[in-house]
Subunit: 421 residues, 2 copies
Amino acid sequence: MNTRAVPIWGFEIMNDPNTLARERMIASHPWLVGVRPAAEVMPGMQPNLILHAAPPARWGDMGDLMRGGLIGAALYEGLARTPEEAAEKAQSGAITFDAAQNHGGVAGGVGSITASMPVMVVEDRSNGNIATHFVMEGLGRTLVSGFYDHAVLDRLRWFRDSFAPTLDAAIRAVGGIDLREMMAEALCRGDELHNRNRAGTSMLINAIVPGLIDIGAPGPDIKRALAFLAGNPQFFVGCVLPAAALMLRTARGIPGCSIVTAIGANGKDCGLQVGGLPGRWFVALGDVPKGVLQEGVTQADVAPGCGDSFVGELCGFGASVLPAAPALGPVIGASLEDGLRFAHGAYSVTVGEHPHYKVPALGFRGTPIGFDARKVVATGTLPVIDIAMGHRMPGMGMIGMGVVSPPMQCFEQAVRALDAA
Amino acid sequence: MNTRAVPIWGFEIMNDPNTLARERMIASHPWLVGVRPAAEVMPGMQPNLILHAAPPARWGDMGDLMRGGLIGAALYEGLARTPEEAAEKAQSGAITFDAAQNHGGVAGGVGSITASMPVMVVEDRSNGNIATHFVMEGLGRTLVSGFYDHAVLDRLRWFRDSFAPTLDAAIRAVGGIDLREMMAEALCRGDELHNRNRAGTSMLINAIVPGLIDIGAPGPDIKRALAFLAGNPQFFVGCVLPAAALMLRTARGIPGCSIVTAIGANGKDCGLQVGGLPGRWFVALGDVPKGVLQEGVTQADVAPGCGDSFVGELCGFGASVLPAAPALGPVIGASLEDGLRFAHGAYSVTVGEHPHYKVPALGFRGTPIGFDARKVVATGTLPVIDIAMGHRMPGMGMIGMGVVSPPMQCFEQAVRALDAA
């Protein structure tokens, strides 16, 4: 009896698309394997193509915040010599745009990816998939915040010409870096892995230094790299977000699967995909985050949420496990009770708990994985994203930190489309 | 009115010994300034003197666990060629012993300090005081666990001949390391700074590497040092404990002060000092920790608590703020609720909260500082220490992790002596 019952039971389980998705998500095993030029590792990359946070958008439809970042990217890539020329070429179609997630990439904030730009390369060793993210620039004036002055562009050129090739060689020298192990430990060290990545960054530096020694990097290069990393507590998020995207991607293409497999907000719209309908973005007007504003600005100045980093929460990190990072609470305007509420909300609309990513502050519960669009719609419980808040106007940068949710309409559209399929 | 009222109020405050102690404890600002041979930096160090966890004890009165560690120290220092010879010389007085805290040192666990042994040197920049701790050896067979086989002694010689001088030069090259800043951040990264120091160790490595580059340390030396540190998640406690001892020491010698300024347990007795009676140890039989035992041992095998690391909790770290380190709970057999109970107990018998050391998980409350012996006696609430549990027999090492409290008799003796003074 038993010998028959077990395979039948197993077969039935695996016939349930969301259960299959959950098992694949758990198996996903991200490794940081290098830092390479985008054109080398991202499918469909073109010299005049600039990738941004999802969903895809045309220049004429984009918000000012995102446009600022894209102009900076065009200047960096040499696609235009002035902001005006960049805007003209964007309007005419001489410069083209697409969502980074359509090319295996993730673009946090207002950041963008061009052909020559180095990207963190993360490999899912459960299936060989690759995901990428641009190199995080640090605090202050950055392209990821929509700035593109000389200092910003100089830093990006230093990435391309020196820092990224050195980092790439060091990562290869140590045989790649097991991000699953590092992210699991970071959740025990006060990181929620979206807007707090201090412990993860510290561990990543520890892991890279022996590689820097092995490749014989000159002392001044090592010191400049380490000084840069020491002032860049969010550096590790450039590894976390591709890892998150790879976990979500395992569910892509499973017929009938209602789990969110891609998500982003471009400063105007928010869009998501579900596993059963690969490639279809379900889009609605994005909401405006609320939280802690800097002096001199008001809520009316805040742009709708922007960035592909929504994938972090939808993979079970970030605000989905905010109690892991109690130090982040006041930064985003969330109390300890808010954090528990966000986490319990996430558990109520997901399909499992991750056995590798445990949250000690939640009694070692695994992170909530597999956000089920059907459960979101049925319960009315939306995922919560902790997020940097950008000013509506370009060149004003980040003006606060808070939380936002993707609009319910995205989930409703996805469920209707799944029902129709 | 106001101009008179303020100084009078200030004068009265500073006339209260425990309030004065609290202000001095808050001002204490520890920096790691080097790694030097004990004889060079510890007052009263002698070639045939071995320092151990307080209170002071004679060889004939010591427990087997502590004796094992002291024999290992004698062999390392070349004071004896065999364990038998070490025991004979200890018995005869040819080798002498004292509490490390009587010489400005701290000796965690069964660890000990000899004249040639390198020690972490921490300076209190509020007053120029120095405190030290031996270099933490890592996991497994170590002198701090009472082992003294060839591998243990070889590692200590590598410390003395290579690792410590290199580390010392690197620390000096970076101008010393601000431990207050690092410990404050570690409390936001899941360390309670006694038995969990993973984040602190990671940050310390980050801070030291630029110094290693600056001094031109050879690549293989750097890699060996980093590989050793990477496998040594408790390394940072060798900085924390001197910092804690320095904070407590600020209250030493304040007439009438009932705050604990020194404390330790030597595997048999527990002893403490209070600020108003400097140099007097109040001693009682130490209690046996309880917690999580390794397989194959029973509670009857566990030795009474051993180590000067009690100073960590008495300075407001460790189990006094266990909620800072939720990942440590199961390791020592404490639930999240136990952690809150330990912390609330600590707040109930201390005289203030530290403005630099904040615990996000406790709503950013400052660490509880200034354990008042009078409050302990009046409320019956003892400090709780999280601690590695040693086997009663030498050579059996650490057999579990748990919690213990110093005996109430120590506090009662101190209060009686203060009353009599």
